[in-house]
């Protein structure tokens, strides 16, 4: 049992940083470096193995570089063997790994790992070219045009209400447009995805973001289909594809 204080790292046993879980017979890629360059290794946890490295002992975990390293290790492991990512920032006291995953969950995780075999995650997102859509809205909506003329170059406070209304109409214009374009993206990737997880998009200008579980042999075809879509929509949208990665979105919560 470890209690951390705000003053610094835990007193007592050195800590392990946890990246993910793999099957008991999985072999990790050789020479993998983890957080702060520490070597990554597999430690047995019942029916599974935990992918770990020693935690940095001279500083706390939580730098942006650590997030990057966490993802880099998991993505590299995922290319070799099925892996269940553990949430970023999980530290365990050395020797306490057996407590990490209760026995009753191990079989379930092993099953999940076997079902993930032969699949990687890719994440596709689409964003509007903001200025292109704005220009369309100005051209196509007389009220937006009128409010724009009314507020442009005028005192900000004096035109507050009109500017508010203008922004509201513009944001509504993006919102109206989004479902059709999001649907088009979803239809483009559907034939190549074994499973899909839709991320909520929050910023105005985002079209959609989808995590896809894809068989490695389908990745090229997926790229081809998205390239075609990206060309067709290039005047008002940017399509981005990241991966292959570990299946961050397809870890079932227990």
């Amino acid at each position: 049992m470890t209690v951390r204080t705000e003053e610094g790292p835990a007193v007592g046993a050195p800590e392990l940083y946890l990246y993910g879980l793999v099957l008991a017979d999985a072999r990790l890629p050789a020479g993998l470096a983890g957080l702060a360059g520490r070597p990554v290794r597999a430690e047995s946890v019942g029916e599974l193995q935990a992918v770990v490295s020693d935690a940095p002992d001279d500083r706390e975990v939580g730098l942006p570089d650590d997030v990057r390293d966490h993802a880099r290790v998991l993505d590299a492991v995922a290319e070799a063997v099925p892996v269940l990512p553990v949430r970023f920032g999980t530290l365990a006291p050395t020797g306490a790994l057996e407590d990490a995953v209760p026995r009753e969950r191990q079989a379930r995780h092993a099953e999940d790992l076997r079902s993930l075999a032969g699949a990687v995650q890719l994440t596709v997102s689409a964003r509007y070219r903001e200025d292109a859509v704005l220009a369309e809205l100005v051209a196509g909506n007389p009220e937006i045009r009128r409010l724009r003329e009314m507020t442009r170059g005028r005192d900000e406070m004096a035109t507050y209400d009109a500017r508010f209304r203008l922004g509201e109409l513009v944001v509504a214009g993006f919102d109206r447009r989004r479902p059709g374009d999001a649907d088009r993206l979803a239809r483009t990737v559907a034939p190549f995805a074994r499973a899909t997880s839709e991320h909520p998009v929050s910023r105005t200008g985002d079209v959609a973001e989808l995590a896809l579980l894809v068989a490695p042999e389908d990745v090229e075809a997926l790229e081809g289909a998205l390239e075609e879509l990206a060309e067709q929509v290039a005047d008002h949208m940017v399509v981005r594809l990241v991966g292959p990665q570990a299946p961050y979105d397809f870890v079932e919560e227990v």
Binding site: R148, G167, V170, E227
Partner: protein, 140 residues
């Protein structure tokens, strides 16, 4: 179709970075994955600011005012009465990195160190020394 500015690694329109940017990584992996209750978890320094700010922007009237401003910044007059399709073409070519850089992407760049959508963002700013840490204390 004009040569629309897209970064690519394969020579096409699809934005296909070789390595994920910090923004990608944060967006994709943070708060995903198995939670192991027994263990301490730490948050990443500064990253919560990105997500929190994004939420604030959505929720507030700020969004409206920002988009009003972005709309007003569009330089339609300079087009000298040309038709809309030409105009859109021009704007697309200038891309989000031109002088009419999108408001929202600008804000995001500010938050993530200004180069979140570059393929190589090694020179990302290091966090301040004054780290805030939100470690989840183990119930004891």
């Amino acid at each position: 179709m004009s040569e629309v500015a897209t970064r690519r690694s394969g020579g096409g329109y699809l934005d296909r970075p070789q390595s994920s940017s910090l923004a990608d990584v944060v967006n994709i992996i943070l708060d995903k994955g198995l939670v192991i209750d027994a263990f301490v978890r730490v948050s990443v320094v500064g990253i919560e600011l990105i997500t929190i700010d994004a939420r604030i922007v959505i929720a507030s009237v700020d969004t409206y005012l920002r988009f009003a401003e972005a709309t007003n910044r569009l330089d339609l007059e300079q087009t000298g009465g040309r038709q809309l399709p030409e105009l859109i073409d021009d704007i697309s070519q200038s891309g989000s990195h031109g002088k009419t850089k999108g408001m929202v992407s600008g804000a995001k760049e500010a938050l993530t160190g200004g180069n979140d959508d570059e393929e190589d963002d090694e020179d990302e700013k290091k966090p301040q020394r004054s780290r805030r840490r939100t470690s989840r204390q183990e119930a004891s």
